[in-house]
Structure formats: structure tokens, C-alpha cells
């Protein structure tokens, strides 16, 4: 952990994330069944659950990549993707949603870097496109962020010339370039070779100690125990239990949690 990382990220105000009674269906299949969740500023929340339990969907509802049928998400009190009109919720314009998303970082399982842009341009693109920074400033910021994730020498490379671990670190730098108050990680190490997992987790750990709000979907139980302030176990579209890792991971109260942990540990 370098001290200037803390300094640079200190100017970003960590966000509060609130999920209110969110329901989501895919056709007739119910994916989320009334999820309530509050993530306090600077808190690191790890979401665990069997596959198909709705954990990725929950994450994607938070930045409105998926629209919930019922319920809403708010970040720092601002509704995401909708606005209040009297007693009802109305969908926001696409442009307004995009603006909201630019304040929420999202890191994908498959990195989803832009293959036709250099590493530097991948990181610098969003601040320029959203009109926050000029091209030169954005590239300067990108260089700085790439240095922090240990890729200062890769700025001119194209994503496909990098290893999976390096690509994911670029993706994290890309998310950081928008100075988000919260960063969402959707299984950030699941697509990586085992020996590359460590380098990505190290970067996330770095962020965790810097005070940014993080919500992480992962299968790395050891990692969760190490960095999480809170572990949320989700199954069948519902939160089964949540609490500090010492409770949920070491003394789970629910049968389903115990069952899941016995399979993955």
C-alpha cells in the first residue's frame, strides 16, 4: 500500500449504497426476491452465494445495467435509474442514467477492455467522453492510475497483448479513472489462471484500505475473510444472512450458508 494512493483517492467521497426491496424477473424466473441491503461509506461488502443465486444480478441492478421490476437503488440518497414523481417511480432518460453510471465503477469478470484501444486510451477514454477532463489531463491521470496498478510500462500495449491478470488490473484502473464513490466487482478473478489471481486481489485490497466503498461478488472465501467488513450470503434471490466475516464465515447461523461454505472451502 503506497501512501499516495490513499491521498489520491481521498478526494473521492465514499458513497452509501442502499438497495430497497428489489425484485427482478427474467421472464417467469424470479432472480431477486425482495433484497434489502445498505452499504455504508468506505465499507467493503463481499457477496457470496451459489451460482444462479442472483448475486451478479444484484450487482448489476446497483448500476442499473439491469432494471428492477419492483424496488429501487439509491447511492448517497440519489435514486438510480429512476426519479420520484409523487408516489410513483419514473424511469430516467438514457442520458441521465449514463451520467449516474459514470459515478459508479464496475469491474467485469471478463474484463471487457476495448481491444482496439491501447491500454492508455482504455483508461483515458471515459473521463474524456463524459467531458470531465481534457485529453492531456485524462492521459496524465491514466498514466498515474496505471502506475498504481503496476502497469506503467504497458501504456502503449493493446489489451490482447496482456495476460488476464494484467487486463483485469487495467480494467480496475479504467473504473478508477472516473473517480467513483463506489466500485462494484463482478467475480473479478473467476476468469483468471490461478497464479494470476493474487496480483488482482492485491490491487483490490489496496483499494479496500483506501476508504472507497466496494461491493465484491467473489468465490475467494479466504480473500473475503481478509478484507470484508461485511459478508452477505445470498441464495434463491434472497439475502439469507449477513454480518462480519467472523460470524457469517466462521459461525454461520443458517443451514444453507453452512452447506454452501462446506462445498467451497
Amino acid at each position: 500500500m503506497t501512501t499516495d494512493t490513499i491521498e489520491a483517492l481521498a478526494d473521492v467521497e465514499a458513497a452509501t449504497v442502499e438497495v430497497h426491496d428489489v425484485h427482478k424477473w427474467y421472464g417467469t424466473h424470479r432472480v431477486l426476491d425482495g433484497v434489502d441491503l445498505t452499504v455504508r461509506p468506505g465499507e467493503v461488502t463481499v457477496i457470496l452465494g451459489p451460482s444462479g443465486s442472483g448475486k451478479s444480478t444484484l450487482l448489476r441492478v446497483i448500476n442499473h445495467l439491469e432494471k428492477p421490476e419492483i424496488g429501487y437503488v439509491s447511492i448517497n440518497g440519489e435514486l438510480i435509474g429512476v426519479r420520484r414523481q409523487g408516489e410513483r417511480l419514473k424511469e430516467l432518460s438514457e442520458r441521465a442514467i449514463l451520467t449516474q453510471r459514470s459515478r459508479i465503477g464496475f469491474v467485469f469478470q471478463n474484463f471487457n477492455l476495448f481491444p482496439h484501444l491501447t491500454v492508455l486510451d482504455n483508461v483515458a477514454a471515459a473521463p474524456v467522453a463524459t467531458g470531465r477532463l481534457g485529453r492531456t489531463e485524462a492521459q496524465e491521470l491514466a498514466r498515474e492510475l496505471l502506475g498504481r496498478v503496476g502497469l506503467a510500462d504497458k501504456t502503449g500495449a493493446y489489451p490482447r497483448q496482456l495476460s488476464g491478470g494484467q487486463q483485469q488490473r487495467v480494467a480496475i484502473a479504467r473504473a478508477l479513472a472516473l473517480r467513483p464513490g463506489v466500485i462494484l466487482f463482478d467475480e473479478p478473478t473467476s476468469a483468471l489462471d490461478p497464479e494470476l489471481v493474487g496480483e488482482v486481489l492485491a490491487v483490490i485490497k489496496d483499494l479496500a484500505t483506501s476508504g472507497t466503498t466496494l461491493v465484491i461478488v467473489t468465490h475467494e472465501i479466504g480473500f473475503a475473510r481478509e478484507i470484508a467488513d461485511r459478508v452477505v450470503f445470498i441464495d434463491g434471490g434472497r439475502i439469507v444472512e449477513q454480518g462480519p466475516p467472523s460470524e457469517v464465515l466462521d459461525n454461520p447461523r443458517h443451514e444453507r450458508t453452512r452447506d454452501f461454505l462446506s462445498k467451497v472451502l
Binding site: L65, I104, N110, P115, H116, A126, A129, Y158, L178
Partner: protein, 326 residues
């Protein structure tokens, strides 16, 4: 596993003949001879030689007359018309194609249906029919006006003055080209990974930026080869404008052919060689444009012909040196 009866546990000693006479020292592996390939090559070479010989010696081709016509001003004027019509139609057709493709991929059912119907209709009707329709367009609609739909007109044009032969040709080819280009562009856009759309949306990039800078440049990789194919069809398709009384390359040759009936074959050869040249130029441009858009898609760019030649020469020199050393 149980052993079959009579099987010996130890391997039978190999006969001295099977054994290598001495320890194998590292040496060059002789490549496998492939006689079939040599025979096929010889047959093809003979056929090619026969064809070329016929082309050169057969008096029917009248190569001297070909030489006379090849750079005649009438032919060159026709060539310019062909190039003009192709250029305008290629650009307008591609723009129209992009719009149609976006309409087909839009979430509005009306836009989707209109785009689908347009593509369906224009791909069904032969180009020559479209051109002749437009040629007779002034009979169907005397004037064209700009104004409120179904309401008063602000200003109008006399159709027959607006629709010169050039305009008819370009509009007809563009309408046709747009229908095909739309499918090429749509295919290209669909070939871009869904994750790219998601990443662009998650970063909050403005919608137009997503298309222009993220999706379209990646789609171009599959659009270019297909569109060039389309473009080559278009170059040759322009020969149909002869039927709306525009004298393009083919049209000029055809006209000269009816004036000098004895020169029809050399005139057709003139046209053939010019179309070959045009297609070759397009193919060369295609190579470099594709190479440009391959950045990032492959770990290293494909070599240019010059680079390939240089590598081949270096390798050949190295091989000769190696052979000489053995």
C-alpha cells in the same frame, strides 16, 4: 490385466538389422517427397501456358486494335463516369446502409419494420428495373416539393430538370447498394461482443460515443471485407447505367463497338482490363484498411507484401548459406 497365454514377459531381442548401425547423430531431417503435388503442378502449368499462348497468338483478339483503343479519350471519359458513379454510390450507399442497419437494430418496431421492408424490397427487385423505374420517374411524379407532409409546399422542383442521367444512375445504385450495405453493417455490429456494449454502458459513455468510438470501429473489422466485396460488385454494376443513357466505361465501348463492329472483341478486352485494374486497386486499398483496423485484434499486425518479400529473401539467403555449409 491378465496376460494372454504364451506371451513372453520380456521383449524378444530385436534382430540386428532393426537396430541403428550406430548412435544417431543430430542431423537434418529430409523433407517428405510429394510426387502427386509435382504432377498436379506440372499439369496446371501446361494448361496455363496453353491459355496464355492462345491469348497472345490468336488473331481473333486483335491486340493491335486493343492497343489503339485502350487509352482513347472516349474510353477514358467512360472510365471517369464509371469512377464517379461508383464513388458517389459507394459513399451514399454505405451511409444509407448504416442508417438502415441502425433502424433494424433499434428498439422501435416501426423503424425495424420499415428498414426490413426496404431491404426486402430493394434486394428483391433487379437493379436494372430500379434504374429504369427512376429513369421514367418524371412520368410518375412531375414535380418534387418540400413542405408540410400532405400540406402546402414551400418550394418545388421540376422533376425532369433535377433528374439528370447522372442523378438517376447514382440514386438507383445507391438505393440498391444501401439495402445490401445495411446487412453488411448489421452483421458487423452484431459481431461485436455483448461485453463491449456493457462495458461502454457501465462507464456511462454517451450513446453516440459508444457507437462511434467503441462499437463501430470493432464492427469495421468484419464490415470491411464484406463491404469491399459489395464495392467490387458495385463497380461492375455501374455498367448497367448504360441503359439509362449514361456512357460509362462499358457504355462507351458498347457505342464504339456498334460504330466499328470489327473491333467488338478488342473493345471488350479493353473494358475487361480496365475493370481488372479497378478491382486490383480496390483490393490493395482493402489490405491496408483492414490492417489499420486490425490493431489490437491480433497480437501483431499482418506483414505488408514488402515486409513479406524482405522476410522471404532473408530466409532464402540463410537457407542457401546453410546448404552451402553442409
Amino acid at each position: 490385466m491378465s496376460e494372454p497365454p504364451g506371451a513372453t514377459v520380456t521383449l524378444a531381442p530385436t534382430s540386428p538389422a532393426d537396430e541403428p548401425s550406430k548412435v544417431l547423430t543430430a542431423q537434418r531431417v529430409l523433407p517428405l517427397r510429394r510426387p502427386g503435388r509435382w504432377i498436379a503442378t506440372a499439369v496446371v502449368l501446361v494448361l496455363v501456358a496453353q491459355f496464355v499462348h492462345g491469348l497472345v497468338t490468336n488473331p481473333f483478339y486483335q491486340w493491335d486494335r486493343w492497343g489503339y483503343w485502350f487509352l482513347r479519350p472516349t474510353i477514358l471519359d467512360g472510365l471517369v463516369i464509371t469512377l464517379e458513379v461508383t464513388a458517389y454510390s459507394a459513399v451514399l450507399g454505405l451511409l444509407g446502409g448504416i442508417l438502415l442497419a441502425l433502424a433494424r437494430l433499434s428498439r422501435s418496431p416501426v423503424l425495424r419494420a420499415v428498414s426490413w421492408t426496404y431491404i426486402w424490397a430493394l434486394r428483391s427487385v433487379p437493379l436494372i428495373v430500379v434504374l429504369l423505374f427512376l429513369y421514367n420517374f418524371s412520368a410518375l411524379y412531375k414535380t418534387l416539393s418540400v413542405g408540410i407532409p400532405f400540406g402546402p409546399a414551400f418550394f418545388s422542383f421540376d422533376e425532369s430538370r433535377l433528374a439528370t442521367d447522372m442523378v438517376v444512375a447514382v440514386v438507383g445504385l445507391s438505393l440498391n447498394e444501401a439495402a445490401y450495405a445495411a446487412e453488411v453493417v448489421r452483421g458487423g455490429i452484431l459481431s461485436v461482443d455483448q461485453g463491449q456494449h456493457e462495458a461502454a454502458a457501465a462507464l456511462g459513455l454517451p450513446k453516440s460515443y459508444q457507437f462511434r468510438r467503441i462499437v463501430f470501429p470493432q464492427a469495421l473489422r468484419s464490415i470491411i471485407p464484406n463491404y469491399v466485396n459489395q464495392l467490387i460488385g458495385l463497380i461492375k454494376g455501374t455498367s448497367l447505367v448504360f441503359y439509362v443513357s449514361l456512357l460509362d466505361l462499358f457504355g462507351s465501348a458498347q457505342t464504339m463497338g456498334s460504330t466499328y463492329p470489327g473491333d467488338i472483341v478488342p473493345l471488350l478486352l479493353v473494358v475487361t482490363v480496365w475493370y481488372l485494374i479497378l478491382t486490383s486497386v480496390v483490393s490493395v486499398i482493402q489490405f491496408y484498411v483492414e490492417r489499420h483496423y486490425a490493431r489490437g485484434a491480433t497480437r501483431s499486425l499482418p506483414p505488408t507484401p514488402l515486409q513479406k518479400l524482405r522476410t522471404a529473401l532473408t530466409e532464402l539467403r540463410a537457407r542457401i548459406r546453410r546448404e552451402a555449409a553442409v
